[in-house]
Amino acid sequence: MSEVFISGIVVFVLAAFVGMEVISKVPPTLHTPLMSGANAISGITIVGALAGASYLGEGAAAKVLVFLAITTATINVVGGFLVTDRMLEMFKKKPVKRDG
């Protein structure tokens, strides 16, 4: 195994520990926005898609794959962060207008 790959494993394990620790005490009320925010973070794969675009040759298949990868990842990223913000905005509303 290459050094890069092994240090990748180390990084993976540590990041997984961080993920577990950070999440384990979140109140149920925030589970939906948390999940949708985490989902947006998993769109980081867009970086992989963009990197793929940097060494595109002439093959049509590669072009289609990379284009689809960029598109789907962007849906995930943009949609995920936006909808999370929309939800959290609702949570922030003050309990003012009691006259409904």
Binding site: G19, N39, G79
Partner: protein, 452 residues
């Protein structure tokens, strides 16, 4: 330098996730995470020699537009579908990245790279097809109840084994074909994996698919040797896994049981519905019970979301508060179709955060509560889980509403919940059944309360 900037982006993800865990900081946390993503994208665009700007711009514009429209248009009741869909796109993106790398480098790979390519394709594809099956179930295009072929588990086990076999083939021989077959098999496995899972188990399924979309991204990170993907993916994978486990605990079931039991399939648990009489109530009866109570707790379930009754419910709550009644809302961890689903709906309807009680806060309160109103919930308030050791849901932590003085159940009919079992609560002396659609019921009760 690039690596360090990726690390900075990953740190923003970590801070963002952390802040998402507390109501005060959650919104800023989401922005931190988004800033991390923005940083990672900029770094990538600057660093790589981008030969295909046209494609990049096109992909990001199309994807961004679709994502933004979906995010801004979606009804809060449809949030589980949307998150499922986004999960699916994320999984697809990771699998596509792996395919593109395969197309570029060919299939003669070091064994560990071959393994992560196969893993990325398999996990990404399962996430994609599984998420869209979940989407279909949640949206109503597919039946919510478990759907399975005979011997479904065996079929799925064979498919999973086939994927492993194909991965070994790919690594050993160094040809591209097995990888494409992995994609096909994994897509089928995703469909077959989620179809047999009932609607009530969706919170677990969505959490798990969320976790898998992270794992797929992380595997893609190993392929291209990018630590931002590895870290971001691992964070989400681990966080989703923790949530999945918590949801399982909230149902007193193991993950394997949720995934493989076909729980709530009509055959397994239907039992007989009791033919004992129930106390039928009218809107006026309910209004009188509520209007003269000191304390009322509302227990919402998925039926509330289906009926879009969250605003009507909150209007009734406000009217009761005007009459001096204390109103709170008890939310079971797996109420609805994704973790925290009911909280989002009630927040949308401007119910203040402090009135939302979780399981541990609720149960000590019921014995001192005058009236509990159940809207569209069933299994999570079924006392069999506590009393009947033979029940399929025995041991599941429930909201013990039967300890309140009066219980009002708003429901279309006596049909059982997703667990497919009868609910003794409905036949109790102190239970009143109001058969109606949730939203219409709330509006009728509100009218009656106002005329008290």
């Amino acid at each position: 330098m690039v690596e360090l900037l990726y690390m900075a982006a990953a740190s923003l993800f970590i801070f963002g996730l952390k802040m998402l865990g507390s109501p005060r900081t959650a919104r800023r946390g989401n922005m931190f995470a988004a800033a991390g993503m923005f940083l990672a994208i900029i770094v990538t665009l600057v660093n790589e020699e981008m030969l295909s700007w046209g494609m990049i711009v096109a992909g990001m514009v199309v994807g961004g537009a679709i994502g933004a429209v979906l995010a801004l248009r979606v009804k809060m009741t449809a949030m589980p579908e949307l998150v499922a869909a986004f999960n699916g796109f994320g999984g697809a993106a990771s699998a596509l990245v792996a395919l593109a790398e395969l197309d570029r480098n060919g299939a003669e790979l070091p064994v560990e790279i071959a393994a992560v390519v196969a893993a990325s394709l398999a996990v990404g594809s399962v996430t994609f097809s599984g998420s869209f099956i979940a989407f279909g179930k949640l949206q109503g295009a597919l039946p919510g109840r478990p759907v399975a072929l005979p011997g479904q588990h065996m079929i799925n086990a064979v498919l999973a084994a086939a994927i492993i076999g194909l991965a070994v083939w790919g690594a050993a021989v160094g040809v591209v074909a097995p990888y494409w077959i992995i994609v096909a098999v994994a897509l089928v496995l995703g469909v077959f994996g989620v179809l047999p899972i009932g609607g009530a188990d969706m919170p677990v399924v969505i959490s798990l698919l969320n976790s898998l979309s992270g794992v797929a991204a992380s595997m893609a990170g190993f392929i291209i040797g990018n630590s931002a993907l590895i870290i971001g993916g691992a964070l989400v994978g681990a966080a989703g896994f923790i949530l999945t486990v918590q949801m399982g605990e909230a149902m007193n079931r193991t993950l394997a049981n949720v995934l493989f039991s076909g729980f709530g399939s009509a055959v397994a648990g239907a039992g007989e519905l009791s033919d004992k009489p129930v106390n039928r109530a009218t809107a006026d009866d309910v209004a009188i019970a509520l209007g003269y109570a000191d304390s009322v707790i509302v227990v919402p379930g998925y039926g509330l979301a289906v009926a879009q009754a969250q605003h009507a419910t909150r209007d009734l709550g406000l009217a009761l508060e005007d009459k001096g009644v204390t109103v709170d809302y008890s939310i079971h961890p797996v109420a609805g179709r994704m973790p925290g689903h009911m909280n989002v709906l009630l927040a949308e309807a401007d119910v203040p955060y402090e009135q939302l009680l979780d399981l541990d806060q609720s149960n000590p309160r019921f014995p001192q509560t005058d009236v509990v109103v159940i809207v569209g919930a069933n299994d999570v308030v079924n006392p069999s889980a506590r009393d009947d050791a033979d029940s399929v849901i025995y041991g599941m932590p429930i909201l013990e509403v039967d300890l309140a003085r009066t219980v009002i159940v708003i429901k279309r009919s006596l049909s059982p919940g997703f667990a497919g079992i009868d609910n003794p609560l409905f036949y109790n002396e102190n239970t009143m059944m109001f058969f109606s659609d949730g939203k219409a019921a709330m509006e009728d009760i509100l009218k009656s309360v106002k005329s008290l």
